[in-house]
Amino acid sequence: MERLVLTRWAAVFIVALMAVGCGGESPTGASAGGVKVQGVVMGESASASAADTRSPQASQAKKVTVKVEGTTLTVDVNANGTFQLSGVPSGTFTLVFLSDGVEIGRVVVTAGDGSEVKIVVQVKGAELIVVEIEIEDGSGSNTGPSTSSCSVNGGKVGQKIELEGNVASGTSASFDLSVNGRSGSPIKVSASSASFKCIGGAKTTSDAECKASVKTGAKVHVSGTLMTCTTSSAEVTATEVKVQKD
């Protein structure tokens, strides 16, 4: 009798284990091949240490969804803030982040077939901040066009980059950056999801004022990821822009 109960119990246990083991989750509309996107969405309660001045805010449980613009690919961010998309068409694509159905931000990514994009973003109010983005090729290493074919000295597509220079044109959301000695042509910086802060000068300047001060001629320090790079042009998605104040 006991053996019968035990055998049944073991069978139920094993079936349960196998069901979980075989039941891999698949995001809606995702398919094999293309680009794989892994991401983390940090909530409003996120706080930062060191020089970052982002302040913690009350956490609100809102349903966050990530879509790939122009495709049917969409996935809900789970309770722990992670999400995964497979089969994203290679090339340049746009990740659209929605909070309870309302768009809060977009991130433009350029990645080749077989690449893996790792992105960490923070939702702050109705704003999306890109904390980190990294692109790995199919072999698992960060590569892109060789340094020699990239107009930015020391720059590699998919890798983090730090630039210092002057704003040649544009606004805080998107501007061209002149970097003496590192690139012969201005680098296009997408900063719509970046955080802004001022360094030097008056300490009382707010982040919003810093953002507004990004105008032609402003001296800035940009941290982000080199998204594309050719011999004549380069694009950087910024995660942080520091504006130098005299």
């Binding site: 119990w9 449980a61 309770a79 722990n80 960490v120």
Partner: protein, 181 residues
């Protein structure tokens, strides 16, 4: 170790225990007593795979029912972010047999706190969330001696956060020490 590999291992162990004649010998007629468990634990936080330790303490309430206190700590990384998770749950366990191999089923409710952090530029951005949840599962105790047993357990843990319910598996294997006689 991947989740699938861990689960396959668990399935293999369970199959071996049940089919290879883990003959349920009649246990000596000793009264039920409290026990503690410590061992390796694996779980998932959404898409992130986490490894850590699991601790359990149980207190008997009759021959087949026990109160369970479950504490677990896990860590791992996903998409460049580091995850730390602590779970504290309590509930009841039903174990119908008092033999050398003891299957059990349990249901727990409690709190799971997940911390996420990422190094970015010159700062560390971190986020912590505490989510209420519940877990359903079961396992097997395989008696090694009067006091020591080997335990494998499995939970399906449901937590709510970011407007969604998450169901994450948890697997643990380790040793049980039984107090009293």
């Amino acid at each position: 170790m991947s989740a699938r590999r861990v689960l396959s291992l668990a399935a293999g162990l369970g199959l071996a225990a049940s089919l290879a004649g883990a003959a349920p010998k009649k246990a000596p007629a000793t009264p039920p007593s409290p026990d503690v468990f410590a061992g390796y634990s694996y779980t998932e936080a959404g898409d992130a795979s986490l490894n850590g330790i699991g601790l359990q303490g149980t207190f008997p309430l009759g021959d087949t029912f026990r109160l369970v206190l479950d504490l677990s700590g896990h860590d791992g990384s996903f998409a460049g972010a580091d995850f730390d998770q602590i779970g504290l749950m309590a509930g009841g366990r039903w174990s119908p047999l008092r033999s050398r191999v003891r299957p059990f089923a349990e249901g727990l409710v409690g709190l799971v706190r997940t911390s996420t952090s990422v190094e970015a530029a010159d700062a560390t951005v971190s986020d912590s969330d505490s989510d209420w949840g519940f877990a359903l599962g079961g396992g097997l105790d395989f008696g090694l001696s009067d006091r020591w047993s080997l335990r494998g357990l499995f939970h399906l843990r449901m937590t709510q956060g970011e407007g969604n319910w998450d169901s994450d598996p948890r697997f643990a294997v380790g040793f049980v020490y039984r107090f009293g006689r």
